[in-house]
């Protein structure tokens, strides 16, 4: 493993895309930043600008309006980047998969690296998912 990959793993800046979620997963993501879980221990920060991001956290089932925006945001991220689907909605669509507004699970829109199922996933599960992916890489 080169120094580039090592530093990349040690300093992940997270950008949060809400692709029509019910807000439950978003609250769990915010929980990761609280003193109890504190992901800054691993060097992760929440950024506001897409140009600073290394990780895209996508929540919610992707609907027809959000699809275009998600694609556009993916094009704007400086590569290399990691895409994480948080919750069951972006992974499969669960109860929305029959909906008239459903535009396919997230991996049909952009390439996904990590799936974290759960409705919503616990903060422990989110951290564990990212750590597992980083150890595999």
């Amino acid at each position: 493993m080169g120094i580039k990959e090592y530093c990349f793993k040690k300093s992940l800046w997270v950008f949060h895309i809400a692709a029509s979620p019910c807000n439950n997963c978003d609250i769990e993501i915010l929980d990761c930043l609280t003193p109890r879980y504190d992901i800054e221990r691993f060097g992760m920060l929440l950024t506001g600008s897409i140009k600073h991001a290394d990780v895209l956290l996508v929540t919610g089932m992707v609907n027809k309006k959000a699809k275009k925006r998600v694609k556009e945001l993916y094009d704007q991220v400086p590569k290399p980047c990691v895409v994480v689907a948080v919750g069951t909605c972006p992974s499969s669509g669960i109860l929305f998969k029959e909906s008239y507004n459903f535009a396919g699970p997230l991996d049909k829109v952009i390439p996904v690296d990590v799936y974290i199922p759960g409705c919503p996933p616990k903060p422990e599960a989110i951290i564990a998912g990212i750590v597992k992916f980083l150890n595999k890489k």
């Binding site: 580039k4 003193p35 800054e40 060097g43 506001g48 140009k51 400086p78």
Partner: protein, 309 residues
């Protein structure tokens, strides 16, 4: 010639400033985390951030003017190193500088803010230009009290505008903070440093929660890394500038080394605590704070300095 290059690149220049600045900015993040009852990032975090940003892709926005957009970080980086050399060399007791280097330092410390404004306006992003306009207003308001406090110090040192003489004056008669004019000036200076470093009460130019990342919004990859390392270096330069001007400078004989490092960390701690216990002010309130109150304090400090208090 070789000595100049070493000064620029290794000892008080790039390498030393970035390592020391990285440490101070880690200290700031760690203290912030402890104030929040969090654990905080590891010691090498600034280094990881910098290397990661160097390895990332650099995107140039379509509506930007690429030349200025890419030149701005380089200018601010170079100006910061030059200011650092002029400030740190006399602090370490190395014979350097010239009559009037204080004025050169004032100009060089202004350049990072100005180049940030240029870069933000060149990026063609509406949020960046909002950040730039706020930075301009902030620059107008904090520059005058900053100059007035320096004027008070210059009056105290018999009108000498050389850093080395300010330090030797304090070595003879005790640090300036012990007098009325010095104490008032110190308060004003700390507020100006807070604004120069763009930290929380005055971080309007990059207010994350309102205008995404403000002036930095469109930057990615290497230019952002240069801006980051400029911020790290300023985080070391500004506290040591305050230490030189008010707390009697550094001393490297025996146990005094620990005292010298302690002084810089104390100033950094003060900055961090102010940052963590205050909300962000509006631009109008920030301008009023500097133009009315801080100017009043600074003028009082000048008058007291003339009266030799």
């Amino acid at each position: 010639m070789i000595k100049t290059i070493i000064h620029f690149l290794v000892f008080p220049g790039f390498l030393f400033l970035s390592v020391a600045g990285g440490f101070v900015s880690w200290f700031d993040r760690k203290i912030t985390a402890r104030v929040h009852f969090r654990k905080g990032p590891p010691l090498l975090q600034p280094f990881y951030d910098f290397i990661k940003l160097l390895a990332k892709e650099t995107l140039i926005p379509k509506n930007s003017s690429p030349g200025l957009f890419l030149l701005a970080p380089v200018i601010s980086f170079t100006a910061t190193i030059l200011a650092g050399i002029l400030i740190i060399l006399p602090a370490f007791g190395i014979e350097s500088g010239f009559q009037g280097d204080l004025i050169v330092i004032i100009y060089l410390l202004m350049i990072p803010a100005i180049s940030l404004i240029f870069g933000a306006l060149a990026s063609g992003n509406p949020l960046s230009s909002l950040g730039a306009s706020r930075e301009i207003k902030l620059l107008i308001s904090y520059e005058l009290p900053f100059l007035l406090t320096l004027l008070a110090l210059v009056i105290r040192t018999d009108m000498s505008i050389k850093i080395q003489e300010i330090i030797s004056e304090q070595k003879l008669f005790g640090p300036f903070i012990g007098s009325f004019s010095g104490a008032l000036g110190f308060i004003v200076m700390m507020m100006c440093v807070q604004a120069k470093l763009a930290l929380v009460p005055f971080d309007l130019a990059e207010a994350e929660t309102e205008i995404v990342a403000g002036a930095y919004t469109e930057y990615s990859g290497t230019p952002l890394a240069l801006f980051k390392i400029t911020r790290y270096m300023l985080f070391f330069i500004m506290p040591s500038f305050v230490v030189i001007l008010f707390l009697g400078g550094f001393d490297f004989k025996g146990w005094n080394i620990i005292l010298s490092i302690g002084k810089v960390l104390l100033i950094a701690l003060l900055i961090t605590l102010v940052r963590n216990t205050n909300p962000r002010v509006k631009i109008k309130a920030a301008m009023k704070f500097f133009l009315v109150w801080m100017n009043l304090f600074a003028i009082l400090s000048v008058i007291l300095a003339v009266l030799k208090y």
